[in-house]
Symmetry: C2
Subunit: 240 residues, 2 copies
DNA sequence: TGCGGAAACTATACGGTGTGAAGTTTTCAT
DNA sequence: ATGAAAACTTCACACCGTATAGTTTCCGCA
């Protein structure tokens, strides 16, 4: 029993990874129970039986922790909508849109705090860094949307006959991700993707933020009808 | 020059009103420059050459101040969209929707912090009280939307022929405000109003929160095209 | 004209937050 | 076994909202 370096990763790093994961887990729990503002280093440390400053060994700053959370949450969202997409990939464009939309909404309603973290004002004064997993997840979501637009495009292109959109209208970074996946996509189809996105995000964010509760008592029905309307406007001869 | 009680309101109350207004003005400036979280009593007091606690003579708590700001801002938004509505009240439903939508978006882009204050997570842990000017302004906005739906209804009702909506689907408080103004409005038309609302809020909130900047470089164009698409889906034979 | 009371404001204090610097303990590699 | 590095604690500071008590200023009325 000379030394203990039996494993590859090393015991130290494993403990470190576990602690890192526990910090994020506790932070997510706090966020789920008390909103994004409940993510305080001291509360996390209290929950873990540590000192607040100990967390600085794992995250340089509180914003870094929030960034890590956003990365995780955003990736989870991307996984959810990708799963929704995959479950309907063999079906027509209308079913794909429906599957994607419901996956998006279901995830958002199941993780409202996460939704706020991604799409709202997560933590006052917080600004997302440039790199990281969050932009990557965002691009996965965008690519999913582009896939919906790509599938629906043959049915809807006549509506965009006089569209004024051109490639320079869109973010180069977005196009760099989307165009390789869907080379035949015209600029107007990207606009269609953004249109679908605007629809879904609009309704879901209204619902998540509670601005719909004061208006309708059946957000479910509203969402389904609105979705049916969107699909019908894209693929006219579509059975609801 | 016996005594100074020459005016009706009284000097004391006038000074009080001025100080109250200055507090709100400074708070709005802080919010505009540093986000909603920059609204701190100490910062306001610092800016005004006072002590933070002096503000407690004007607002019982920080949330009360935020509530007052929300009331003001929400009223300003309602004024803006009402003005947009009034400027096109003599025109057809398509023009009305366009005018209302552009008024809404223009106001939101001119007052992004105000938009966040109203529709986002204004201040962590903040919960709006029941009464006050904000719900009233919200109902003005809703009534404006109902007016759009009412004007467009004859053109679009065939789309809602098999609609499943009924009055119990909607918030009674909302209906109590809307139905007296538009007695002939069927339930599905309220759904149409919410549909327009979902569109506009969705796109504008994406834009205000910067989630559109990473996708399109011409949010203006996207909004106009999306609006044209919405109008076209409501009033088919409509010149863009 | 003077006075009493109310209103406006300050001073002090408490518990909360993020974060920096310094010191201590634990663990690993040699 | 020992030295270095990592993990963690302690103390400190500035900031936040807010409660309490004390002080100053002003208005209305006798």
């Amino acid at each position: 029993m000379t030394t203990g370096r039996t494993k590859g990763p090393g015991r130290r790093e494993r403990l470190r990874a576990e602690t890192t994961a526990e910090i994020k887990k506790v932070a997510l729990e706090l966020m789920a129970s008390g909103g994004p503002d409940a993510i305080t280093l001291r509360a996390i440390a209290r929950e873990m039986g540590m000192t607040a400053n100990a967390i600085y060994g794992y995250f340089a700053t509180r914003d870094d922790l929030v960034t890590a959370l956003i990365n995780d949450v955003y990736t989870a969202l991307a996984d959810a909508v990708d799963a929704g997409w995959a479950s309907a990939s063999a079906q027509g464009p209308a079913d794909r849109i429906r599957a994607w939309a419901h996956a998006f909404r279901d995830w958002a309603l199941a993780n409202p705090e996460g939704f706020r973290l991604i799409y709202g004002d997560p933590v006052p004064g917080y600004r997302a860094p440039d790199g990281g997993a969050a932009p990557q997840a965002a691009h996965r979501v965008c690519t999913g949307l582009a896939g919906l637009a790509d599938a629906a495009w043959p049915h809807v292109q006549h509506l965009y006959a006089d569209s004024e959109f051109d490639w320079p209208d869109f973010d180069p970074g977005l196009l760099a991700k989307v165009r390789p996946a869907y080379p035949d996509l015209p600029p107007a189809a990207v606009a269609l993707a953004l249109r679908i996105w605007g629809h879904l995000h609009g309704l879901v964010s209204l619902e998540v933020y509670g601005h719909l509760r004061t208006q309708t008592l059946s957000p479910d029905k509203l969402f389904r009808e609105e979705l049916a309307m969107l699909v019908r406007s894209i693929i006219p001869s579509n059975p609801i």
